[in-house]
């Protein structure tokens, strides 16, 4: 990615924090000549302006915000309904395990088969672990990938060789199989499998999922960043900084890092939908989150056995997962396009 002339680090960082919150001022200038539009702006400002004009991206952003709000306000929403995700209404389930009621004013989306928990409450609470794991994992893996890639690219030599080998190693491990393998091992570190409490398992599962996700995804970004830094090391502004005797740390973080903002943003926004899908998938397989933690993947696994009698129970988590992941990945594509000077929409 060619990001034009060197940026002042402070400006780019301030801008990137602005882009996640309030819209930056002075970027909306309508349709003018291309040169007018981009002169004197940082790549982040240009990307932000392009993103705002992208209608698909804005619709997707609204959907994402909706789900984030739902996760944050889960207790409030469940409170308005008057239910909670763990109470079992065994009186609403017949002897074969089928719920006897459909959606009504008391249980907005009905109750789950077999143990009769409120579907709506579990649904809104289920958004929380997905989003929490995905956000944490993508921040951690981006940070690790960035540091590793910068170290490898900047220092070269044996540092580069060791890190590059590590990248190759991680990328040749089968992700899903390893994810399945890590969970029982992590669990056995925290206690005997026969006496371990359900809530401990739940916590252990949360952190092992987090670990598995960032362990596997830092490598791809590290490889990208390494290549970028290798190329940038020879650029004039870095050479100038080094000739002036700027300390290495400053060269890395003040001179190079601002030019990697594009890669970082793209990595963050494309990793999150992948992580949400992976978390729900592993929970669906029974390897991820378990009861009592509500999770969409777990709901799908539970609902598939009752889908003929109770299709709504299946379609609620399935629809939400598909919509959220779709919106996030389309948003990721749009961010990618916005930061890529080669695409013009």
């Amino acid at each position: 990615m060619s990001l034009g002339p060197m940026q002042s680090a402070d400006e780019a960082i301030v801008e990137s924090s602005a882009s996640s919150g309030a819209p930056a001022t002075g970027t909306r200038r309508g349709r003018r000549g291309k040169k007018d539009n981009t002169s004197g702006k940082s790549p982040t400002q240009i990307a932000w302006a392009r993103l705002k004009k992208d209608r698909v991206a804005m619709v997707c952003a609204v959907i994402v915000v909706f789900f984030v709000l739902m996760a944050l306000l889960a207790p409030v929403l469940a409170g308005i309904e008057g239910q909670d995700p763990s109470t079992q209404h065994s009186n609403l389930v017949d002897t074969d395990g089928f719920p006897t009621i459909g959606p009504n004013s008391e249980h907005w989306l009905g109750v789950t088969p077999r143990i009769g928990r409120d579907v709506f409450a579990r649904f809104v609470y289920g958004a929380r672990p997905s989003l929490a794991i995905a956000t944490l994992a993508s921040v951690i893996s981006t940070a690790i990938g960035l540091v590793m890639g910068m170290l490898a690219g900047f220092f070269g030599g044996w540092v580069d060789r060791v890190i590059s080998w590590l990248i190759d190693f991680v990328l040749s491990l089968p992700f899903l199989l390893f994810a399945i393998a890590i969970v029982p091992i992590a669990q056995s570190w925290f206690g005997n499998p026969f006496t371990i409490s359900q809530s401990t398992i739940s916590t252990v599962r949360f952190f092992s999922l987090l670990f598995v996700l960032f362990f596997f995804f830092w490598a791809g970004l590290a490889r990208l960043v390494r290549g970028e830094v290798l190329a940038m090391r020879e650029r004039e502004f870095v050479q100038a900084a080094r000739a002036l005797g700027v300390p290495t740390r400053r060269v890395l973080f003040k001179e190079m890092l601002p030019n990697l903002i594009g890669i970082i943003m793209v990595s963050l926004t494309t990793a999150i939908p992948g992580f949400i899908a992976a978390e729900a998938g592993l929970s669906y397989l029974g390897v991820g989150l378990v009861d009592p933690t509500p999770s969409w993947g777990g709901m799908v696994a539970d609902a598939q056995n009752y889908f003929q009698a109770d299709p709504l129970y299946l379609w609620v988590p399935v629809g939400a997962l598909a919509t959220l992941v779709l919106a996030l990945s389309l948003l990721g594509d749009a961010v990618n396009d916005a930061f890529n000077p080669n695409t013009r929409r």
């Binding site: 080998w165 190759d168 190693f169 040749s172 491990l173 089968p174 899903l176 199989l177 390893f178 399945i180 393998a181 890590i182 969970v183 029982p184 091992i185 056995s188 570190w189 005997n192 499998p193 026969f194 006496t195 939908p273 899908a277 729900a280 998938g281 669906y284 397989l285 029974g286 390897v287 799908v300 598939q304 889908f307 003929q308 299946l314 399935v318 997962l321 598909a322 992941v325 779709l326 990945s329 389309l330 594509d333």
Partner: protein
């Protein structure tokens, strides 16, 4: 070229060796070992566990156990458990204390299932991916192109297992349009093998193909505007010949690379496909072993998966130089 191949093979060997070692460290140094799985009750006394561990040789130094593990992979080894002695032939990837069986044998049973799913799936998604990509590229800009591009952007963005599950539930269970999934060995009964997997191939192939369409389209647009295509056209070749013999052929190398990498990744365990359709391949073996806390079998599956992925990457890298004469390996 030769130096590159040797370096590449050495890299692969080091990666596989590290994967095996990491697996050993993770699985065999974990505080909870197979004794707990055999003595499966909450009130199993520590003395009994120690006794079982001693009988299996798990009380010996870890380094010695590691040596035995590596030796087992190369030459096979003897497993003792509860006074019985079992022969675990090379490559011995571990011993399932729960099934009382060599983990290698269990992997050997599961691997053909995964390979069968892949083979048919690859055929379906290669054909559909190429077809969709070529049609879109030839109709660039009109409604058909936009429709194909829209589908190929939406479908891969939805998690695969959701679509596969919905297809399975609605096309196989509720309305049995597709034949029920079932695995028969192709050597016993090839017809039953094909009919049992037909639905799986179809669903897996259709969903996966959408991920390739966009890629093939981009490659085709690129090659259709190439000089060699203009030459072929000005030479007076029929449009069909230009598209198939010239433009499409130029897209095959990168396409096959992508497919090759995905085959390697999927062979290491099409976990979701196998779980949803109830086929006992590598991924399902891992899940079942997980549910039984059969760590040795999971470790065997992970090792085999790592070998398959590294081997696949190596083959694709080497073949790339052969398929595309512009690539120089060094």
């Amino acid at each position: 070229m030769l130096v590159y191949i040797i370096r590449r093979i050495l890299l692969m060997i080091s990666v596989v060796f590290a994967a095996v070692t990491l697996t050993f460290v993770l699985f065999f140094l974990a505080p909870n070992d197979p004794a707990g799985a055999i003595c499966a009750s909450p009130n199993c006394s520590p003395a009994r566990i120690a006794e079982i561990e001693k009988s299996m040789g798990l009380d010996r130094p870890k380094v010695q156990q590691y040596g035995e593990y590596m030796k087992g992979i190369v030459a096979g080894r003897d497993i003792t458990s509860g006074g019985f002695k079992y022969r675990c032939d090379a490559p011995c990837l571990g011993w399932s204390w729960i099934q009382n069986q060599s983990a290698t044998d269990m992997v050997k049973l599961a691997f053909p299932v995964t390979v069968s799913i892949m083979l048919g799936g690859v055929v379906v998604y290669s054909i559909l991916g190429l077809l969709g990509g070529v049609i879109a590229a030839r109709n660039r800009g009109n409604w058909l192109d936009r429709l194909i591009v829209a589908i190929s952007q939406f479908v891969p963005s939805i998690p695969y297992y959701i679509l596969a599950l919905l297809f399975y539930l609605y096309l196989m269970v509720l309305h049995p349009i597709l034949p029920q999934s079932d695995y028969t060995s192709p050597f016993d009964n090839p017809v039953a093998w094909a009919t049992g997997l037909l639905g799986v191939w179809f669903i897996y192939g259709v969903i996966q193909s959408t991920a390739y369409v966009r890629y093939v389209r981009a490659l085709m647009i690129d090659s259709l505007s190439g000089d060699f295509v203009r030459t072929a056209r000005s030479k007076g070749l029929s449009e069909r010949k230009v598209v198939i013999n010239h433009a499409l052929r130029a897209t095959m190398a990168p396409f096959l690379t992508l497919v090759g990498l995905n085959i390697a990744a999927d062979l290491s365990g099409a976990v979701f496909t196998e779980s949803i359709f109830g086929l006992n391949g590598m991924g399902r073996l891992a899940i079942q072993s997980f549910n039984q806390s059969d760590l040795q079998v999971i470790s065997a599956v992970v090792v085999v998966g790592a070998v398959v992925v590294s081997l696949g990457n190596l083959i694709v890298d080497l073949l790339y130089g052969l398929v595309d004469p512009r690539v120089k390996l060094n």
